[in-house]
Symmetry: C2
Subunit: 286 residues, 2 copies
């Protein structure tokens, strides 16, 4: 397996910042790339806030470890310099096929031959991007969930061209940064988790939107029947309504209708889920 | 609300027998109807076995209570006599629209005007049956799950013609026999539970059947992401593969393909789920 020591994250949005911070927290040297000073200033704030969150929520993070992670992150807005020493580049730029292809064409030229590329795309297939990398055998998807320090699954999904050694390297890397690797044996839209989760949540929202039953009744039914601690609306509150909205809004007509229902009845009223203090349920302690 | 004291169950198959026994166990006088001596002999065996199961698994059932329930059940193969004194008839005959309509036409004539009719149908809508009853305002669906003493939800679903007082009577009856009533505000195919559960399980089976990930990986992903104690294949083992097979086999092409997958790879090999000792997982204690 390839040895991974230096990791570059492209894109410092919500999830990009979390991936960068988690890798640094786990001892890796991290380069966080974004396109301009404004984006990097926002990234700097995100990292400081993440350090505070880890101190509060992650066992062992207080007493210096969360702060030390910050020192292992270098901010960079020159793409060539960002990838020059990378063993692994994790791409977390916006979900736009052409934008992603363009960035892969660039780093395919700029990065050393050894560098592995991993996309964090939620909605595209890695095979749609692989040819743009110029090195499809060293390319695959590594998909994280929001709140990486709590929702610590990382789905690893190759293309038919991914070198098995590269795949194993990335599975080991995911473990090394504290993730539980979810190994997909072949490409599948939406990976394992969202293949199950988004239609499940959609079905629950549909029961509510159609007036079949209220959210408490639906949750109770699910909890009892499957011996779960959370029903679908409790899971929705935990995942965050905006996350589900963004996924649904990008898909077909039925899901867009449900996305609108969530937006009009909850999101527009500030009910975003547990993090905001209210979603389908109230969370007074938040 | 109407007072319910005497309950007649039509059909003594797996679920009909469980409903009859549970009602008797809860103190109701129960008439269990089936079409001939053979069916009633099988019913008698089912009731005795249920009493033994309750003694083992239901708190308080040992020491006479489980046996006493048996004495409150009368077997009957004359339909007129079966319904003559019924406050409530729960129909649990095979899932065949014409068969059910025929039996409702008969009992609509045979039962007193006061009698409420409830169908335990899983796959039909009560509005497809209501006109055959001759008393649509005293008719609704009351849907139980297999292993009623453990999976104790009862979904209550009226038609546009169901009298609200009848609806409330049945909600109260469900509680009185130890069920947690799930109140549906309007008709919906597959109720609340199966609207969520069967597509969810289908999606999981599809990931497996398509070779995307193994069952352990899928379950692990779900458990971590939703903080559940059981993943979809563990739930499938608990519900029983034949139950899911029977639901899927009755639906569309995609689901029939998944049903065949379950049958060929599991059911035909005796892997029926937790009850049989093996399904997707092994249950050595069974």
């Amino acid at each position: 397996m390839t040895r991974i020591a230096t990791v570059t994250i492209l894109g410092t949005g919500v999830l990009g910042a979390q991936i960068a911070y988690q890798a640094a927290y786990s001892g890796f040297d991290v380069v966080a790339y974004d396109i301009n000073e404004t984006a990097l200033a926002a990234a700097r704030k995100r990292f400081v806030k993440l350090a505070a969150t880890y101190e509060e929520q992650v066992k062992g993070a207080a007493g210096g470890k969360a702060d030390a992670a910050l020192k292992r992150i270098t901010l960079q807005m020159d793409l060539g310099r960002a990838v020059a020493a990378a063993d692994l580049v994790i791409e977390a730029v916006p979900e736009n096929l052409e934008l992603k292809r363009e960035i892969y064409r660039k780093i395919g030229q700029l990065a050393p031959a050894k560098t592995i590329f991993a996309t964090n795309t939620s909605t595209l297939l890695p095979s749609e991007l692989m040819e743009s990398t110029g090195r499809p055998e060293r390319f695959l998807a590594l998909h994280f969930a929001n709140q990486i320090w709590i929702q610590n699954t990382a789905e690893v999904m190759g293309t038919p061209k991914t070198d098995p050694d590269v795949y194993r390297t990335i599975v080991a890397f995911a473990s090394a940064i504290g993730m539980i690797p979810i190994e997909l044996k072949k490409e599948h839209p939406k990976y394992v988790l969202n293949s199950l989760l988004t239609p499940f949540l959609d079905d629950a929202v549909e029961l509510l939107a159609n007036g079949v039953a209220d959210s408490e009744t639906v949750d109770k039914t699910w909890r009892i029947a499957t011996r779960s601690s959370l029903g679908p609306f409790q899971i929705l509150d935990m995942v965050g309504l905006r996350t589900v909205y963004n996924i649904d809004a990008a898909v077909n007509e039925k899901q867009q209708r449900l996305a609108r229902y969530l937006k009009e009845n909850y999101i527009d009223k500030g009910k975003l889920g547990a993090e905001s203090g209210e979603g389908f349920y109230s969370y007074p302690s938040k």
